[in-house]
């Protein structure tokens, strides 16, 4: 019999498969006059959007359900799927429920997508946030605070008001709660990976991109409460950490396949933007500055954030150790420059420490499941049965 938890997962799966953004349309119907703002991954200060009375929605491409008919004419062939499918969603009217779009300085493809989309959707509010790449100076938090204030001013203009610092504090508190639950779930997953599989946590994370934060928090609470009663049994699996899928999201099938091939995915970077901070953003003092300051000093490491003071190689190793993973699987979106560049230094670091790794590539439309299965099985066997 299907349990409540499984029903929740099914609902999440439906939600993320819906390219018409019905949930967003519904929210707008229930909140007449309110706006929805879509942000491109990896990270966006959703707290700010929410504090303006708007619904922040994280974009995640189109999975394997959309044929590219228009976007190919606007980009070279060497561009990742999410950039193309986002463009295609825009050109086919599926992004119409959104009143605005936010992009940021994560990579060259995303940066250019912002302005190509601007040209294709004239009149729509499309903004580009410069998320800083030098966290080693006190100037950075000040700059980002101004950048966030610029965003707030634009959103106020779009909305005709609605923002206050108190509302931002409340919004930060709501997102803190949400992230704390996600951290709790992640921890539990690392400790008892048979109770909550990565392919399930993935659904919860993806759903978080689409739901209002309180609704999502409630959903996480229910799942957390229901987990101990699950009747799953531990099995002999290799504890691995997955790295590299922080922006474009792999097909869920691929994650399941890795699990079936004998992996416990004890940590990963799926939908990383929803778990951007390693602890709570302060809710006292200037909330805009608190968010900016948190970006500089509380953010998790990511291939799209550059902080010379805290190398990402160190972040990776620390994460492997924390999760007690025996190996790393790099799961990288085809043509994802930030991930592929980082792979070079990550690989060097892991090899130096004798931590085994495997490199896999995916696209939103992946056709090579069988090959991947064989690769993962061989990898697992080579490490588990020696």
């Amino acid at each position: 019999m299907e349990t409540t938890i499984e029903r929740t997962f099914d609902k999440c799966e439906e939600l993320i498969a819906d390219l018409e953004f019905t949930a967003v349309r519904q929210w707008k119907a229930e909140h007449p006059g309110a706006r929805a703002i879509a942000y491109f991954p990896v990270y966006a200060p959703a707290e700010i959007i929410y504090a303006c009375g708007m619904l922040p929605v994280g974009l995640t491409g189109a999975g394997d359900q959309l044929d590219i008919q228009h976007a190919d004419a606007r980009f070279g062939s060497f561009i990742c799927s999410i950039v193309k499918t986002t463009m295609e969603l825009g050109l086919t009217g599926r992004l119409d429920p959104f009143d605005g779009f936010l992009f940021s300085s994560i990579c060259d493809s995303a940066r250019n997508l912002c302005f190509v989309l601007k040209r294709s959707l004239p009149g729509r509010y499309i903004d580009f946030l410069h998320l800083p790449h030098n966290s080693a100076t006190p100037a950075t938090a000040d700059f980002l605070t101004s950048e966030y204030r610029r965003l707030i001013a634009s959103l106020i203009q779009l909305n005709g008001g609605g923002f206050s610092e108190d509302r931002l504090r409340e919004s930060i508190a709501l997102y803190n709660q949400n992230r704390a639950l996600l951290r709790q779930l992640s921890r539990l997953r690392a400790e008892q990976p048979h109770l909550l599989r990565a392919s399930e946590l993935y659904l919860l994370l993806r759903a978080g991109n689409l739901l209002p934060v309180e609704t999502h928090t409630e959903l996480l609470r229910q799942v957390l409460a229901g987990l101990p009663a699950r009747s799953a049994k531990p099995r002999d699996s290799l504890r691995v950490m997955v790295e590299g899928a922080f922006c474009e999201q792999p097909p869920r099938e691929l994650i399941r396949l890795m699990e079936e091939a004998g992996c416990y995915i004890v940590d990963d970077d799926f939908v990383l933007g929803r778990r951007w901070f390693s602890d709570d953003v302060p809710t006292d003092g200037d909330p805009v500055a608190a968010l900016a300051e948190s970006y500089v000093s509380r953010a998790v490491y990511s291939s799209v954030r550059h902080d010379p003071a805290r190398p990402r190689t160190a972040g990776l190793v620390e994460k492997v150790r924390r999760a007690q993973a025996g190996a790393v699987i790099f799961l990288i979106a085809k043509f994802c420059e930030p991930a592929y560049f980082d792979y070079v230094l990550f690989k060097r670091e892991l090899e130096g420490l004798g931590i085994p790794h495997l490199l896999l590539e995916f696209e939103e439309k992946t056709f090579t499941f069988d090959r991947v299965r064989t690769e993962v099985e061989t990898f697992v066997e080579s490490l588990m049965f020696v």
């Binding site: 302005f115 410069h130 700059f143 101004s146 010379p308 043509f335 420059e337 792979y343 070079v344």
Partner: protein, 342 residues
Amino acid sequence: MTAKHEYRGQIHQRQKQLMLDWYERLEQSAATGRPPAVSLMISGNCVELLQAFDAVPIYPEINALQLAIRHQSLEPILAAEDLGYAADNCAYVKADIGAYLKGLTPTGSRLPQPALVLCNFVGCNTYLKWFEHVAAFTGARLYTVDVPFLREDEPTAADVQYVVRQLKELVPVLESISGCRFDLERFREAVRCSARVEELWSRIKHLARRSPSPFDAYFDAITLMGPLYVYRASQEGVEFFEVALRELQEKVANGEGVYDQEKFRVVMEGPPPYPYFRTFRDMFAQWKACAVASTYSTVGGLWEFGFRHDPDKPFESVAMHMLAQNVTNRNYLQRYEQIKRY
């Protein structure tokens, strides 16, 4: 057949000499540690600040393209791919890193270890990765000047302030690697030289409006870009561009062009295919197609539209240059406008 039209006047000779001198300084730095060498990107950089400390820039991009022109990049690229670089990663990075690890240099002379890896991040995110990797492989100190992308028409006041603060933070870093104290007057002097070179360069660029154009604003501009980037902030740069302008003005006065009869006047977008540079150029020459403008020649700076460094506001104008006055840090819509303007 009238292929291979390049003027071989003084400009060509002097350009060669200046670039040789630069490689010699780099070799000297490799041998003695003096002058200190600083890795830097071409686009939207702060070479003026290096000049104030008499540091010599190493441009990994120039290494990469020189290797490509000389058909020497395949070996280092393959070596880099062995390290894990992907087939689709920017080949400049792979050529540069591979060459470093294999001890290859374009001219065969030694290149120094950088005393500082200074990433002027303007637009292209590959810069960030590239310089992190240079720092990781050489063990040198990394400083990233994070330059906000030009997301609106003009930089915001906060953008300018942010870049200025980072440039000022760089001052003690440069003091420590060079052993020299910062001298504001020397910095102003470097900025003054840049302003002068920018003026001369702009006047040269505007000569391409003449028909026939006295130089090719793509292929010949690339020849001139070497001195422009290495020597912009120095007296040598000023002298070079004075001579260059004079020579090209004379050509205009004599009615001489790249081709006696231009058949096509074209605007070029994007960098040339360096491994086939010669063939590519010959192809245009066969058609007597003369470039009269190119976006590639504005990667370093957009001075032809009027911007100049300002010795009265050295930090602010260097920041403005990095933020708004190079094609790399400008958004797609602005780059599109630039082509329309040509």
